[in-house]
Symmetry: C2
Subunit: 153 residues, 2 copies
């Protein structure tokens, strides 16, 4: 989670919503790490998880990431939850809960349906306060500068 938080903080320095993701293999080796890059890539789907999943699969030369863990600073949205399932990730660890846009324990709860053909183990709330503080600080700073009024809670 430390590495994911670093990716999130780095994303914030580049004007991105601070979310970071890290993928490790079954031995704990880091395969990929990414921060949110929606603004840099002008792509609304360039979430940290999506970038890290593709980077890890490319690095391994594999279609699936079976046995791997993804650690994310924020509860994944429905897009990222669905991608985590499609890549057959074994374990999802996330930091802050996201009642506004989350898709794992909020909203559509992507893994909790028979239409979900691969459900990872899920551990939420890991270093939750630090993840949430990064996000709150980012949105507070944007509001102070007259930017988006979107907030985490």
């Amino acid at each position: 989670m430390r590495r994911a938080l670093d990716e999130a903080a780095n994303a914030a320095r580049h004007g991105e919503v601070p979310v970071g993701a890290v993928i490790t293999d079954q031995h704990g080796l880091v395969l990929a790490a990414a921060g949110n890059a929606v603004e840099a890539r002008r792509d609304p789907t360039a979430h940290a998880e999506i970038l890290a999943l593709h980077e890890a699969a490319t690095r391994l030369g594999e279609k699936y990431l079976q046995g791997c863990t993804i650690t994310v600073t924020l509860e994944p949205c429905p897009l990222c939850a669905a991608a985590i399932s499609l890549f057959r990730i074994k374990h999802l660890v996330f930091g802050a809960y996201d009642p506004k846009s989350g898709g794992v324990v909020h909203g559509p709860r992507v893994f909790d349906h028979v239409t979900c053909h691969h459900k990872p183990a899920v551990t939420g709330g890991v270093e939750e306060s630090e993840s949430a503080a990064l996000l709150k600080g980012f949105f507070r700073s944007r509001r102070d500068r007259g930017g988006s009024a979107f907030t985490l809670d």
Copy 2:
């Protein structure tokens, strides 16, 4: 939908699950068309909709696809439904319903939660029988060759 069905049929000829997607702008101009390319790209997220959304955004040079329509031969899965929302597509038209893996009117029903911040208009069942026939033919052929036993219904 004709063009989307052609993309689906072409995908099947390349050993892909036959799903096709087309994106048109507010004047009906085709911006992008793609077939499922999961096997060709060895990427479990290379669904027809995802490829078409990125192609259309690149062509327009825009981050969002406001005012655009996506026409897909099959009910989008949760990944694609979430991407359609994130790209702010105005109208989703789809062919066959997908009770096994769909994410719009089945399973997580991605658009039907307060966590979904952009909900497109949805029209399902357009040329449903032709879309479904393509899929059924594909899976029947795969079973006959001893391939996956996955079927649409």
